[in-house]
Amino acid sequence: MNETIRGLLTRVGGLPVAVTELEDGADLYAAGLSSFASVQLMLGLEEAFDIEFPDSLLNRKSFASIAAIEQTVSHILQAREAA
């Protein structure tokens, strides 16, 4: 999952720094992630993991770092398995 997220970030994130240099916990907004790029990233994640983000998770915190995204996506996948 981490690799997929990093791949998407490289493709649509438009960050001024190399994604490989970012730690999992690094603040993506501080690294230069724009709100437009964050939406592109969300769309990419929905496509890659065949999920849909519920409105309650569409906030800055859910996408603030690679680790936060992993957690958000895992949360949705787990909820789906449990259902």
């Binding site: 960050l15 001024p16 720094v17 603040d27 907004y29 501080a30 690294a31 230069g32 992630l33 724009s34 709100s35 437009f36 939406v39 969300m42 769309l43 929905e46 983000f53 409105d55 309650s56 569409l58 906030n59 800055r60 915190k61």
Partner: protein, 393 residues
């Protein structure tokens, strides 16, 4: 004065009305000369309106955004420039209240702001960023306990008249353009060299000149939170809601003038309705729509105020964007209706029905944060966020 009479006299709306009386007296002169509404701002200080939002623990009155929006609308009915200065000041104070309570310096500043009624301005716009305040080119230089900043600020509303300015910048020389902080600089800690004149169609009294800002202050004056959070959690909502309060005031006064015109005409014609009477009904309908729009936004903010996740959610941003779009567009339609009702008496300056200033001031609404930019942001969010379809929630 009896205690109940004293309490009524000290009610926020009564104090705002007294300031509005002063603001109304000077409104035309301020508009004509493009000068700062000194008399109205002095009246705000005398009525102690500048510190109302500061929590009582720091010497303020803990007024809510809803109460402050009401003050904005009362002032907006008298003089839009004065009302906008008040609104912009309160937007800066909202950042202080929401994000300054963890920092000793900012807490002291809140106490002093409430005590001495300090007027706070904002320098978020910069030459070269293309109007997007969530980017900075300039960077703050932190040198131990001291920080230094130079900014080509193309707009600092009432900058030359403020007691302090909150300035955004990159957090360091190495930081990305979106990695921003905001710093409070107090008068005496900065110099302003005027670079651009504010000679505009309307809102002439906000004196939003451009300046080359150069400041040096203790580093403790930098807000401890990233500006991205401050913008999302206090500025976005309070800007759209308080601006809307001002705009509502402009439109409400236009409708009032149109009604006075229709009544005067009906009296002369022995009760026969003048042709504009139907439009007055339409304008009143639109004004009510505008009021509903703002009130629903204020309620949404009041409900979400303490929930950081909700404040930074897309659903909330879209709702606030929609408040701004609707308010800024509807007021133009309303004032135009009022102008058609009043006819040449509305078009002329210096009549009791003059609407030129209202119309010119109102035209700023769709430009301060361009509606096209806001539509663009909302449409981007709607790629993932479902539109709100609930009536009550």
């Amino acid at each position: 004065m009896s205690l109940p009479a004293f309490a009524a006299d000290m009610a926020l709306s009564a104090r705002a009305q007294r300031v509005a009386t002063v603001a109304a007296e000077f409104a035309d002169r301020i508009d004509r000369d493009g000068r700062f509404p000194r008399e109205a701002v002095d009246a705000m200080k005398a009525e102690r309106l500048l510190g109302i939002q500061i929590p009582t623990a720091f010497g303020g009155e803990g007024a809510s955004i809803t109460e402050i929006a009401e003050v904005c609308s009362i002032l907006g009915q008298a003089c839009a420039s004065s009302a906008m200065v008040f609104a912009m000041h309160q937007i800066k104070v909202s950042s202080l209240v929401a994000h300054g309570a963890d920092s000793a310096w900012h807490m002291d500043f809140m106490r002093e702001l409430a005590g001495r009624q300090l007027l706070v301005a904002s320098a978020t716009t910069e030459g070269g960023i293309g109007g997007n305040m969530r980017n900075s080119i300039c960077a703050i230089e932190v040198d131990g306990d001291t920080c230094r900043l130079t900014k080509d600020a193309t707009v600092i509303s009432y900058g030359a008249h403020a007691d302090a300015i909150m300035v955004t910048s990159r957090s360091s020389e190495k930081a990305a353009p979106t990695d921003q902080v905001m710093t409070v600089f107090r008068q005496g800690q900065y110099t302003l060299q005027k670079t651009v004149d504010w000679d505009t169609l309307g809102m002439r009294g906000t004196c939003s000149d451009g300046f080359l800002f150069k400041g040096e202050a203790p580093s403790a004056q930098i807000f401890p939170k990233p500006f991205a959070e401050i913008a999302a959690q206090s500025m976005l909502a309070t800007s759209h809601l308080l601006w809307s309060g001002v705009w509502y005031g402009i439109a409400a006064d236009a409708v009032l003038r149109a009604q006075a015109f229709v009544r005067a005409a009906a009296r002369k014609a022995g009760g026969t309705q003048p042709p504009g009477a139907l439009r007055l009904a339409e304008a009143s309908n639109l004004l009510q729509l505008l009021k509903g729009n703002i009130l629903s936004g204020l309620k949404l903010y009041a409900d979400a105020r303490l929930d950081h996740d909700r404040l930074s959610s897309m659903a909330f941003s879209i709702a606030m964007n929609n408040v701004k779009l609707a308010s800024s567009e509807t007021i133009l339609t309303i004032i135009n209706q009022a102008m058609i009702i009043c006819g040449i008496m509305g078009y002329k300056n210096g009549t009791p029905y003059s609407l030129g200033r209202h119309l010119r001031d109102a035209h700023s609404a769709q430009l301060m944060i361009s509606n096209d930019r806001i539509l663009g942001n909302t449409s981007t969010m709607l790629l993932v966020q479902k539109p709100d379809t609930s009536l009550l929630g």
